[in-house]
Amino acid sequence: MRILKSVQTKVCVDGSLMKEYVLDEPLTESFLKFLENFGTVRYLDNLRKPYFSFEKELFISIKGFCRGQQC
């Protein structure tokens, strides 16, 4: 999996950065399972676009959508 595009969209008041990434392939369920080793994963698959979030407190927060049939 590779990052095709990275855009810094916001600098938050606490100094953290918010970036938006476009990946070259859909995120897979196995990748989300892998992420569970490092923090909390939420996966909502009953939405128009399946949504996921990954939270590692005081380190990183990721949220996005899984497109495609696999995930």
């Binding site: 939420r42 909502l44 698959d45 009953n46 939405l47 128009r48 676009k49 949504y51 979030s53 949220k63 959508f65």
Partner: protein
């Protein structure tokens, strides 16, 4: 122009009208274009003639719209925040001793921050009156009044709860007790009738870019008697230019520098659009959309609605078990439903209703359709039900 005809961004459902209305009526866009194409014309500032004197025309239009007796006492500013700062700081500068001020928990930071800054400087002491059932009562304000109370600043309509405050009895009571009363009408102007001929407020603040359909960057206030407010900005007014002293006539007393002509033109056209449709029609539609929206959300137990009977077309809610910013993100990216999440610049309301966590706000305009509300509530319920399968 019928609702639903202007949304050229296919599929986008814009429910953030309490922040800034979108789309704008075609007449507004046309008037802005015209204001930029024609040579600027304002008495005292050009030898051009024949074009519209937008500041004068907009003052007349706004005075008619608000039933304000003196068009020349409508002052243009950048927005409601600019108006409130000018009024609050101007009142404080004109009052020598530290004095007591009353405000409410329903206020936006445009009221809270200037008052807090003045409190920190020792210029005033501040009492913040709580709300009950989404409203601040006259009794609560009466209870907060002290011998040294000189100023009350209060919102007309809450930008989070959508509740309209009954300002008339408050204004009448404060007038008889010689307490200056500033009303923030940022959320009500354009949504509900406002008759300043029978409500004795000392200053009424409005902004253009919300329900009055103007472009951002133009607002103002109505100030029937300007003597209580010190002039805090001086400069060119196009009148009495030989004098180094700021003219004390209205409106130049508070309007230094060149006007925001396109903004004023858009405000002029926005109010005329509302008059054309009919404010009663707009208000009725807002109530129908809001009732329908609330009714749909009530079907899902995990959706917490913070005011189930708002007076304004504003519905604030949270979804149990999922962060507000995540909900906003999902609605925008997966469903093209635009809302606003967070504290809405009204921290004291959120401390009361959600422990300061904030919420999601959906807000409608004349251009919002019932079908858009149906799709949006369906999306919100889908998110809520997905979070609690």
């Amino acid at each position: 122009m019928e609702p639903g005809q202007l949304n050229e961004r296919e599929g986008l459902i814009y429910l953030n009208n309490a922040a800034t209305s979108w789309p704008k009526p075609p007449g507004v866009i046309a008037e802005v274009t015209k204001s930029l194409q024609d040579p600027y014309f304002e008495q005292g500032r050009t030898t051009a003639s024949g074009a519209i004197d937008y500041p004068a025309a907009a003052r007349e239009t706004l005075a008619r719209f608000f039933h304000a007796e003196k068009p020349g006492h409508i002052i243009f500013t950048q927005n409601a925040t600019d108006s409130l700062n000018l009024l609050i700081h101007g009142f404080t500068r004109n009052t020598t001793a530290p004095f007591h001020t009353i405000t409410t928990e329903l206020e936006h930071n445009s009221v809270l921050r200037p008052l807090h800054a003045l409190e920190m400087n020792g210029a005033l002491s501040l009492t913040t009156v709580p709300f009950t059932n989404n409203h601040v009562s006259l009794a609560a304000i009466k209870a907060a009044i002290r011998e040294d109370t000189r100023l009350v600043v209060m919102t007309h309509g809450s930008n989070v709860l959508g509740s309209v405050q009954d300002i008339k009895p408050v204004a009448e009571y404060l007038r008889t007790n010689d307490i200056f009363f500033i009303v923030d009408g940022a959320q009500t102007a354009g949504h509900i009738p406002i008759d300043l001929s029978c409500v004795p407020v000392d200053a009424f603040v409005f902004t253009g870019h919300k329900a009055l359909f103007s472009i951002p960057g133009i607002g103002g206030f109505y100030l029937p008697d300007p003597t209580a407010i010190a002039v805090t900005k001086q400069g060119g007014t196009g009148s009495d230019s030989g004098s180094l002293r700021q003219p004390m006539e209205m409106p130049t007393r508070f309007e230094s520098g060149t006007h925001n002509y396109p903004g004023i033109a858009s405000l002029y056209a926005g109010v005329r659009f509302i008059e054309g449709v009919g404010l009663a029609t707009i208000e009725r539609k807002g109530r129908e959309l809001t009732a329908s929206f609330v009714q749909a959300l009530k079907k899902t137990d995990t959706i917490i609605i913070h005011n189930k009977s708002p007076d304004l077309p504003i519905v604030s809610f949270s979804i149990d078990g999922i962060d507000n910013s995540e909900v906003g993100f999902i609605l925008a990216r997966a469903y093209q439903v635009i809302t606003r999440t967070g504290l809405h610049c009204a921290p004291l309301i959120h401390r009361r209703i959600d422990g300061g966590r904030g919420c999601i706000r959906a807000s409608f305009s004349w251009f919002t359709t019932m079908e858009e509300c149906r799709v949006a509530t369906g999306a919100i319920r889908e998110v809520a039900e997905s979070a609690h399968p």
